[in-house]
Symmetry: C2
Subunit: 276 residues, 2 copies
């Protein structure tokens, strides 16, 4: 999938402080773009070079970025490792879900991925590829999953408070492919279907040849905090494969929720039992 | 080990910006203190409550902290997970070292730990306990390892540029136990020994009943970026056990350096071959 810059979404409706400006620079690093030069970062963040340099310098002094190589490009620094280890010790999330994610990819023969809702942005956290096909959906370059155009986004939107949904649907909803639904009323109908079914589906809404299915994930506090999805080439998505993926997703979604120390909301548990 | 607040060290000699103030709040979270209320955080960071609240709010808006429970206490947020996963993909560090660390604890029957140098502070990154003894050195509460009072600190100091060493030795060097060396000239002699031996040792300098040994670690850029240590109860540290730990440390240090894509500096490689 190509990265689509949705980083701007967060700033909408409030003025952004220096701390946010600095932290948002970190969001521009992806697997496909691990090194970013000063000029490139300034361009990505829409800042002038002097400001961008000042922010990167303070991030560097705290180990959140570091400069390497002759080009003095920036990459993420080691500080994040210690913080992530502490967070995982307190709230096992990524490490707990990884084996389930790998099983899901293997079972379905397609790319499985998990995303987390972080301050109004749905961010890919982990993915697992299957070796079953030479062609697969790749996620190296994705910084954010647009809510209106992905099955993960729709699954998360469906189980958020109404105010959140209104905020997202009031933002610009870019047409990414000829299949992207961009009309808020139509998206609301779509979201109602997701709530009624307990899972979401997207046929080419993000990339025209990708067909994906997703379920919401619930954390220990009972909030929908992310989504689990399987993304496949549209050409491989026959009826039997859709059934197989749905079945595997509902099972894996239950497992991850349990591993996160949560329990499925009663209505979801019922829907998933019926759909499995 | 008890946490000793060395966070102030970084601020010395330069004024601290808003971004640094916010990021340093994150350093107060430890395994033993995963939840921090507003008043407690303000006290730990030596900030007034209004400023502290403003900083925490911006960190929260970016997913770096979140509030939970009826007490609305703060804990680390999910943003750090994605950043750490990206950093590990680019520079495998913690995940690469974990199996070696676990082997080292098992082999020596004592606590093994790995620390990283992050902007003038030596931070514990990972540790592994051994089940061999009912008593062991615990590291849950340690935010930073003081350079002058730990074997890890001395191992790292010995292989840094002279300017770095001067900066650290010019800072306050608190006496933590009756065995802590606090005289810069004596510490310099000690550091010369470390450079000549290729490993460091501390007998009760941090906690009076803990005896530890450490080796420096080198990253892919050839910099000493951290230390690998074994910490034991002093009462268990006979001559045979010291030899065993030294041998295991030199081997594990070589392994981690290799896993990090680096190679040992030639003089260290020679010292370690002779000492093994």
């Amino acid at each position: 999938m190509n990265g689509v810059a949705f980083g701007a979404a967060k700033g909408i409706g409030r003025s952004m402080g220096t701390i946010s400006k600095a932290l948002e620079l970190l969001d521009h690093f992806t697997k496909a773009r691990p090194l970013i030069g000063l000029s490139e970062m300034a361009r990505l963040a829409d800042l002038n070079k002097a400001t961008c340099f000042r922010l990167l310098t303070e991030l560097g002094e705290n180990g959140f970025v570091e400069q390497i190589g002759t080009g003095r490009e920036y990459r993420l620094g080691p500080s994040v490792l210690r913080l992530a280890a502490l967070r995982e010790a307190q709230v096992p999330t990524r490490e707990a879900a990884m084996p389930v994610l790998q099983g899901l990819a293997q079972q379905t023969g397609e790319t499985a991925h998990l995303s987390l809702l972080i301050s109004d942005i749905l961010r890919p956290l982990a993915h697992a590829y299957s070796a079953a096909h030479a062609t697969k959906v790749m996620l190296e370059d994705t910084e954010a999953l647009p809510f209106h155009a992905t099955s993960s986004g729709l699954a998360v939107l469906a189980f958020q408070p109404e105010a959140f949904r209104n905020r997202i649907l009031a933002q610009p909803l870019p047409r990414l492919t000829s299949s992207t639904e961009t009309v808020p009323a139509a998206l609301r109908a779509c979201i109602n279907d997701v709530r009624a079914l307990g899972y979401a589906e997207s046929r080419g809404g993000y990339e025209s040849d990708v067909h994906s299915m997703a379920v919401p994930l619930f954390d220990a506090l009972g909030r929908c905090s992310g989504a689990l999805a399987v993304a496949a080439l549209g050409s491989r998505m026959g009826e039997a494969q859709r059934r197989k993926i749905r079945h595997a997703l509902l099972q894996a979604g239950t497992e991850i929720t349990t591993l996160w120390g949560g329990s499925l909301p009663a209505d979801i548990a019922t829907l998933w039992r019926l759909a499995a």
